[in-house]
């Protein structure tokens, strides 16, 4: 039997084991595939699905084993974040903090600036839950990472500019707004300070807009609380 056929059968068996809820067997079968680079892609995709399923089925040890075997950072980071959240919700803050540190290490090993920035932005809400003290540090890292993204000169080739807008500018602008909004709800001064340090005009405006939206929400909340207090006094 050819190697490809054997790998296909291993993957199929791993899928069936996962469907039956036998997570350990599924992991064992998935890791039995050959080291061929093409098959490695299938394997890591499957390991990421398996890790998520294991977290949902409350089997963090299987999830941890599966995540450790994922080489791709883009698949490993969200799975690690999900596992950290699982431990936080399972009242194990130490393990959750440990995993957040692992996520941070993985993100920092990423060379691609846009992916690194997006990963840091996505990490901030988890950090706010698990390890509040890290927020200013991650915030500074986000600003540094945004400012290090190279932007093309507007006079250069149109396709390069379009590519930059589609793959970098829009995703980061999109992601920055809710993150800065949430950050303002916790610490307005920090959010404002960080947002004003962003050098890219578009991303800075988006971050500042997040701050302004949160300010309005905070003002409305204060007003509603006051009205309720006055009503209860009457």
């Amino acid at each position: 039997m050819s190697l490809t056929r054997t790998d296909e059968l291993f993957l199929q068996a791993a899928r069936m084991a996962l469907e039956k809820g036998n997570l350990k067997l599924s992991l064992e079968l998935a890791t039995s595939m050959s080291a061929d680079p093409d098959r490695k892609k299938w394997q890591e995709q499957f390991l990421s699905v398996l890790a998520n399923a294991a977290i949902e089925k409350k089997a963090p040890e299987v999830a941890g084993e599966a995540i450790a075997l994922i080489p791709s950072q883009s698949l490993k980071i969200p799975a690690l974040q999900k596992l950290a959240l699982y431990f936080f919700e399972a009242q194990d803050p130490l393990k959750a903090k440990e995993l957040v540190d692992d996520v941070l290490k993985t993100i920092n090993s990423t060379d691609e600036k846009t992916q690194k920035t997006l990963a840091l932005l996505r990490l901030l809400p988890l950090v706010a839950k698990v390890n509040n003290e890290l927020i200013p540090v991650i915030g500074e890292q986000i600003v540094k990472s945004i400012n290090s993204i190279p932007s093309p000169d507007r006079t250069t080739d149109k396709t390069v500019v379009t590519n930059y807008v589609e793959k970098t500018l829009m995703p980061v602008t999109w992601q920055a707004l809710p993150v800065f909004q949430a950050l303002t709800e916790r610490d307005e001064n920090l959010a404002l300070d960080l947002a004003s340090k962003i050098l890219v005009k578009e991303i800075r405006t988006s971050a500042l807009l997040g701050v302004a939206i949160a300010r309005l929400a905070n003002a409305r909340k204060t007003l509603n609380e006051k009205r309720l207090r006055l009503k209860s006094q009457d």
Binding site: A212, L223, K226
Partner: protein, 84 residues
Amino acid sequence: MTLDHKARLPILLGLALISAVACAHYGFAQTVADKTDRLVVQQPLDELAIAFPIQIRKIDDPSVRIFLKLRIATVLWNEPHQDR
């Protein structure tokens, strides 16, 4: 001791005047409080409705401009009518 009608009238008028002044003060205080309350919300609202669109106009990329404008529109759309 009873007061005749002529003596009662200025007393009643005085009492009416005192209550009118007190009510006006109470009403004035409430209006001032309402205005202050509205200002608390009005300031961030103005920032969103007036200051940000000016900033957004300076952005070169149309997709980013549209995204930010839509985000502002969504927030303003969800605002209660009386504070607009």
